[in-house]
């Protein structure tokens, strides 16, 4: 019987397909970490445009909602220069009826 030629052998070998790695392999090699550990040590990838947009939105929100700080009262600036006694005081005296 005549052996297969290169082309035929290539095609025949192509017929034998292997499966991908099963999901169970990932579970064995990469066991899931407890959520609290992920919170403590985990990291996430954020695309730079998303990060910039979120940062800009946060800054804009902070700027819009920010109240001007109250002016501090400085004790040393109080002046009594224009302070004058009352000119025409008309005191009313109420007496308790006997």
């Amino acid at each position: 019987m005549e052996p297969l030629n290169d082309d035929e052998l290539k095609r025949a070998l192509g017929e034998w397909r292997a499966p991908s790695a099963p999901a169970s392999l990932e579970r064995k090699v990469l066991p899931r970490e407890p959520w609290w550990k992920w919170v403590m040590t985990g990291s996430i990838r954020i695309p730079v445009p998303v990060l910039v947009a979120v940062a800009a939105a946060v800054l804009a929100y902070v700027a819009m909602t920010r109240q001007p700080p109250p002016q501090p009262v400085r004790a040393g600036t109080v002046s009594l220069a224009d302070f004058q006694p009352v000119q025409d005081a008309q005191p009313l005296v109420f007496r308790r009826e006997q």
């Binding site: 297969l4 035929e8 070998l13 169970s24």
Partner: protein, 170 residues
């Protein structure tokens, strides 16, 4: 190699390592065990991989090969490592093309089988394979040649199957 690098390496190479082990052992369970051992060894001893000595892919294939051979050793199949092995012709009545090819490749001597699988299915260069199996490029080339010759003969009955190659020869 930190944890994130390891995860990336696992995602990138797990299928190739599993496929290689699956083809070498002809067993999904054994292939999974081999792949698991390969990646856990990398996780435990990341220093074992030296980037100066080649790509990570080659290193992982080499580790998978060692695991497969370790299994063979445990199953006392060393006698089958004979490099001069000649595969017998296939019986076409027994199955479809894929299973016939699988059987023919499985019937190769392991040293021929591994170079054939790495070259034909995983597209590794002769130099990469030589580094991995710790042999000269010429040795790898001759093993590959013998593996192909064996398969040409073993799979010759495929010509008889109508439609497999578009012609029928009697």
């Amino acid at each position: 190699m930190n944890r994130a690098d390891f995860r990336e390496a696992f995602a990138l190479h797990k299928d190739a390592i599993y496929r290689f082990a699956w083809r070498m052992t002809n067993s999904p369970e054994a292939a999974e065990d081999v792949a698991q051992e390969v990646f856990l060894a990398l996780l435990r001893r990341p220093d074992g991989y030296d980037p100066l000595r080649g790509q990570l892919r080659g290193f992982l294939f080499g580790a998978a090969r060692n695991q497969v051979r370790k299994r063979w050793r445990e199953e006392t199949r060393w006698s089958e490592l004979d490099d001069e092995f000649t595969a017998p012709p296939m019986d076409i009545a027994r199955g479809e093309t894929a299973s016939m090819v699988a059987e023919a490749v499985q019937s190769l001597a392991p040293l021929q089988r591994e170079v054939l699988i790495l070259s034909e299915y995983e597209d590794l260069s002769l130099e990469e394979i030589a580094r991995m199996v710790d042999a000269e490029v010429g040795t790898v080339k001759s093993r590959l040649f013998r593996a192909r010759e064996n398969l040409r003969r073993a799979l010759a009955p495929l010509r008889e199957v109508k439609g497999t190659y578009g012609t029928v020869k009697r």
